[in-house]
Symmetry: D2
């Protein structure tokens, strides 16, 4: 795997940003692999993602952000343009926990992709509120943790889950059809670091049983949405969406089957983009640097 | 143009329907061109569309439904299976009125398709609450009727519009981005005979300025929906929907431009399917016999 | 699982077929679950698929086609209309052998779908010319058979493979990215019973390394095709195809990754449709009764 | 319409290009509206498109490339990095000639889009080898030129057509379903300035009657391709492609109808991208800066 650094910038739009950043990188020997930028004309915001090869780069890059190295050298530019800056390095693989309930198609899909090398991360835990997915986790040599969650023990269960996540130094929680709503306390510990898949084209069919809602309404397409989890249910920043055609011939079982394909697609893309530092959140929206 | 008859059947599901109908048609010399059927397993309903060549058919077919001919001969079967029956004949071209406001892309698209022979109908009136579309109507040799509608004269304007529709014996009203909400009285006169295009993937973004709503929410796909108009705004039976991908690079003007493509597609398909008697409405849903 | 019978009919088009078939089924107590028919207007051919619940049906249904039961009773109609007839029963699950080389994404996808109940079949063997897929087969409790195939032993290896298929009474061979070309002798033993996935939108990019060919040509979409295998390479009747958008940003690895999604989709659909007796082949074309 | 300048760069990949270009633009007061770049990792090429507002820019921008102004000031950078440079200005609208035969759906679509403001160009001529499209051209107030072309007068007709194009100072020729093959002499006069639409997913079904070929082959998707015209038929750099699903129910007329939608879409996008200077050709491939 190539050793690259990735810089994500989010600041008010103004002249000279690209010139300053690219001159800085050039001066320190960066061989740029990918660069992309975006201006939100209405909100006057500027977003940039630039990735460069560490081979030949003359500054130390430590994503955890020490006071020397890249951050120190870049501080003047960051201050001048009032930038929010994030720095990642490809060699530091993010650590993932996958949460699942009974439906395991998204889990199986993510584990297979990980196994096949599509996801540059370490999956360190599978968390289930049922034990159905345990053999699948074992096949992929990932520890499985069962937490039977119900109304009475939910707070306690979350406390244990959070302890597990801390112990395993988890960077990203993926809700792979995990059917429990996380409490605000849980969400607050992992801001923009919990990805969920909702089985509808949000904001249509918020809440429970979206395929049933879709079937009742008689829509001609069904959808799925992956998004960051916020305190408000199904309302976080959308990362990816997809739809597929259905017809009157499709009864509920066909909707569910077609929906599974969408869910796998939108969730796995969201996870990959997060891992590759391609997502910038601003307000309720995301920029995806593909 | 081929002279065919089309029979649409809607009844409780039970054994023997297809046998009875196909034996009846065979006995009277029907050469079946297309036949399709659908069972709603949950609601125990049966739907059928069958189209046959009139060449060699031994019964008179009069869609307006006299007491002799097809209807008389078929009455026994219709009664036995408690059928709702609709009979159409391809040589009887439906008469359309197209309503438009300022945005004329759907109107231009429909008129072009009509002119090119894709829509087997007669467009007998273009109705606008602005005069922008008048030259386009004239180019296609369709009378243009302007009704400047505002809050104060809306009821009176609708009365005149309804008079026009009656005078022109209009079978189908198409709201081709007509930005006035029709009153319940108007809608009641043309049940399942008014088709609207809404510029969102319903039921998301009901009401005004759906592209603005979509932009605010940060969705990754935008959509459009064609549907029959009912008393409740944007809530009628959906005929067709389509979505297309957008990204953060797409600001509002790009959303509007991409949306126009969707609107043209879903509206023109809905109109064609209606004209070709391919749509069966039941409850809030539609069966599309394609 | 519901016990249903499915009848597939292929004959010259003429009046009265549907009447005869539906009257026959009604007379013997069939409760029709699905029925679909198709006429090829140009070639004057008629195709039909009808599926009915065995509950209440008064004739024995034996797909292997004894001389009594359904076949005997239906013989008069079949003869009258010069029908080719195929009869299947849902309780008789087809037996599958999956062939694989090194890339195991299609294999993993098929095995997962089978495990999840999407494919109503018995997977009785995984055959590999490499051992990479052995753990995956074992996890799904399917015997794995390795055949190291090279130019010198290919005929002998095929002989052994055919013996295995006979021993296991295999109904359908699925080439899940199996990179060996089967000999005409092999193909001849399983006419319309070997499904392959080709990683291009056929007939574009026949033969080896289609993604490389696509990359060289600078296409804006890549595709995948599932088809029945015939003697002529990549030329058999197409069952399913799909395409996805690529851009200049996609280099070869991205093409391969996007292509894997297509391959999984088109192959798994083809296998499911075959298992559910939804495919009728005529000449080089297929009718898919969905 | 906003007054912007657009710079397209094509050069060997090397460090410092973005820094040099962005510093240059910043120094001369450019307010960058859009910037995008691409590296072909395999061929070691660098491509860039940058667009800036002329308001506040301190250098004269003359696309025809005088020796002073932008070109003079930028010469040092262009030389240093061995750049091929193209400079455009939004206020200089390209002049288009649209060629058509009998099928006028692409022509009608392009003229409507132009009329609606989607295409920032001047359509200065419609050229037809039949007169069918004349009324449409007249409605849009574009001079119509008829050239009845046959085997014997083709060379003479092309000479006249070329004279017309020169007289009208045409920048871009669009073959909107123009069914005559242009001679190498004609093509050579407008390199990368003739856009054609081919009614198949190239490279499948090159040459005549592609929908018939597709129908014979039994494909499950049909496609359309827009491309620059080169000497070799249907072999020029592809600009855009699209496909749509067909089924056995679609006979040739349905293929043609579905194909028309694709043709309109891929041709109008190609024309818009060309007009907005979003296309860079290298070898047989294109970079589309969207």
């Amino acid at each position: 795997m190539r050793d690259t650094a990735t810089l994500l910038i989010d600041c008010p739009d103004q002249r000279g940003i690209v010139a300053a950043v690219s001159e800085f990188l050039y001066r320190h020997g960066a061989n740029i692999v990918h660069a992309d930028q975006h201006q939100d004309a209405e909100l006057k915001l500027f977003f940039m993602r630039v990735e460069w090869d560490m081979d030949g780069f003359t500054l130390p890059v430590d994503p955890s952000g020490g006071t020397d190295g890249f951050h120190a050298a870049f501080a003047e530019i960051a201050t001048r343009f009032a930038m929010k800056v994030r720095l990642e390095r490809s060699t530091r693989r993010p650590r993932l926990a996958l949460f699942v309930s009974k439906y395991d198609h998204c889990l199986a899909d993510l584990l297979y992709r990980w196994h096949a090398g599509e996801l540059a991360c370490d999956v360190v835990a599978v968390v289930g509120n049922h034990r159905d997915a345990e053999p699948l986790a074992q096949f992929h040599k990932v520890p499985f943790h069962a937490f039977a969650v119900d109304k009475n023990n939910k707070a306690a269960a979350e406390t244990e889950q959070l302890a597990l996540l801390r112990r395993e130094r988890v960077d990203l929680v993926v809700l792979a059809r995990y059917m429990q709503v996380l409490s605000p306390r849980f969400v607050a510990e992992y801001p923009q670091r919990i990805i969920n898949v909702h089985h509808s084209f949000l904001p249509a069919f918020v809440g429970a049983k979206p395929y049933h809602q879709a079937f009742e309404r008689g829509v001609k397409l069904i959808g799925a949405t992956s998004h960051y989890v916020t305190e408000q249910l199904d309302d976080g920043p959308i990362i990816e969406q997809s739809t597929t055609r259905i017809s009157h011939r499709d009864q509920l079982p066909e909707l569910l089957a077609k929906g599974r394909e969408l869910e796998k697609a939108v969730l796995s893309r969201a996870v990959r983009w997060h891992i590759e530092s391609r997502i910038l959140v601003y307000g309720k929206k995301t920029v995806i640097f593909d």
